[in-house]
């Protein structure tokens, strides 16, 4: 799923300092699962904004709504009534959401209320980690099913580099496991260490963001 983290309240207050009526819009998709942009977080952010503005003697009217998904045009429509007399909208969906809102309301000021950080998963309660960079051409089966493009700081295809010590990457002050050590261990367990002996050559990055904006069209679904 897409993982995000809340922006500091002060940053959001600064964004909307000139407005009196705002909508806070969440999303019931990924950001609900990672506890950053669902119904609960919409209510919390709305209250925090009201309280902070009241304390500064400049009251703010906040309307709340959580879309079924903010990455689908039909689920943006329910915002129509809410935004008619609003000065601005703060979206706490991943950064896809605010762009869908912008597409529907050309004259509305739209602000991101969270930072979209990565495609990842939950590790334990309150801990999420990155696992994929959406390079558009998955080759993890050649590396024991582990993604070195995402999880190696140097994106090596022929790792590990000289900065791997006792299973830990030299980047990240000891907090990041060396993915190449994990790839090595896994292939050793599977009896496939020979896969690491062959030289891996050039990756085609044109399927990644480097090839320009990516659009997927499924003709059979379009009809």
């Amino acid at each position: 799923m897409v993982i995000g983290e809340s922006k500091p309240l002060a940053e959001i207050l600064e964004m909307i300092k000139d407005f009196n009526k705002v909508v806070v819009a969440g999303c019931k998709g990924c950001v609900t699962v990672c506890n950053v942009g669902g119904e609960k977080e919409v209510a919390i952010l709305a209250s925090e904004l009201r309280i902070a503005r009241k304390a500064s003697g400049n009251e703010l009217e906040v309307k709340e709504y959580t879309c079924e998904r903010q990455c689908d045009p039909e689920y943006i429509e329910p915002l129509d009534d809410l935004v008619t007399d609003a000065d601005a909208l703060v979206s706490i969906a991943c950064s896809v959401g605010p762009q869908y809102v912008v597409a529907r309301y050309p004259y509305l000021q739209v602000y991101p209320g969270i930072n979209t950080t990565c495609i990842g998963g939950s590790q334990e309660h309150g801990v999420w980690k990155e696992f994929c960079q959406a390079c558009g051409n998955c080759i993890i089966h050649h590396f024991g099913g582990l993604c070195h493009i995402t999880r190696c700081a140097k994106q090596l295809l022929n790792g590990p580099c000289g900065g791997s010590a006792e299973g830990v990457c030299e980047v990240g002050k000891g907090s990041i496991p060396c993915i190449w050590q994990l790839i090595y261990d896994r292939l050793k367990n599977l009896g496939h260490l020979n896969q690491l002996v062959e030289v891996k050559l050039y990756k085609d990055w044109s399927t990644s963001r480097d090839g320009g904006l990516r659009t997927m069209i499924r003709e059979e679904l379009k009809k």
Partner: protein
């Protein structure tokens, strides 16, 4: 002979080679660079020019290599894949060849989080092993990564680095073997302090037949002080400086620690040169270039051989 550089000729002759290192400054102060390099004249068969080492901005290795050539020193131009994609890297290889640079060391480079611009975006389109393959293919097959024909092949003697002390330990020699099969003709190792572990590494390299395919130069960095030894031990991953060296440095009075460090380095050089499969020494006297002639003299490595 591939490039016919002095380094290649000496290694091919079977004589022990010595490469030194000279890092360009963090500014355009060419005089400072020339001054440091002047100590290496007559010492190194070739001199490595680092490419923004430890991800700190310095003047580029291409320009620094050209300056060394003007001084009568032969450069080993280092290139890292951190800062340039395949377009930039191949362009620099061709430009270097056009300027007459004949030795190239292909590296991935230190991560930018260790340098002076940790906010930088990194590239890593290729890794060191792919860069080795790229240069070899341009030279031997006249083709770029894309298959485009090269108009004038870059004649390079191609090198790579190896760290015998990182993990997983058993894979380090295998990875060096990958570098050799990708195109490396010579290897310069990371600074060696743990001689026992290095001996084991060389044993494996000999057993795998790698020393027959490639020249291995043992990396030696003299320790200037106890402080430096402790720093290397604590902060450079995989670099374990044995306590015996630290004890020896500590035993010397403060103003004699450098001399003791040089003594250790000389002993290490002699020990390495006796190991089977070692083709020479890569002497990295970091910001201590003025001591290189003294170390070389003490290690009985002067004068340098001349091969025509």
């Amino acid at each position: 002979m591939t490039a016919g550089s002095n380094l290649e000729k000496i290694l091919k002759s079977g004589k022990k080679a010595v490469t030194c290192e000279c890092g360009p400054p963090r500014g355009a102060d060419v005089e400072h660079f020339r001054h440091k390099a002047s100590y290496l004249k007559g010492c190194g068969d070739a001199v490595n020019v680092t490419d923004n080492q430890t991800a700190v901005v310095r003047f580029c290795s291409l320009a620094a290599s050209k300056i060394l050539m003007e001084m009568g020193l032969e450069p080993v131009m280092q290139m890292v894949t951190r800062d340039m994609n395949r377009i930039g890297l191949q362009s620099n290889v061709l430009g270097a060849a056009a300027l007459g640079i004949k030795n190239l060391l292909c590296l991935t480079g230190d991560h930018q989080s260790f340098g002076d611009h940790p906010q930088a975006k990194n590239v890593h389109d290729l890794d060191s092993i792919m860069l080795l393959h790229t240069v070899k293919t341009m030279r031997d097959e006249g083709k770029m990564v894309s298959g485009t024909e090269v108009q004038g092949r870059p004649q390079m003697f191609i090198g790579a680095a190896a760290n015998p002390f990182a993990d997983p330990q058993d894979f380090r020699v295998v990875r060096m073997g990958k570098k050799i099969s990708a195109g490396a003709q010579f290897i310069q190792t990371q600074c060696i302090y743990n001689m026992e572990r290095f001996r084991h590494f060389m044993q494996m390299a000999n057993d795998m037949g790698l020393t027959e395919k490639c020249y291995i130069l043992a990396g030696i960095t003299p320790l200037k002080s106890v402080g430096m030894a402790n720093y290397m031990k604590k902060f450079v991953p995989g670099l374990d400086v044995p306590d015996s060296y630290i004890t020896r440095l500590r035993g010397a009075p403060k103003d004699k620690q450098g001399a003791e460090g040089i003594k250790i380095a000389v002993e290490q050089i002699q020990e390495c040169l006796e190991m089977k499969g070692i083709a020479g020494i890569h002497l990295m006297a970091i910001e201590w270039e003025e001591k290189v002639p003294e170390i070389m003299e003490a290690a009985k490595l002067l004068p340098r051989p001349k091969i025509d």
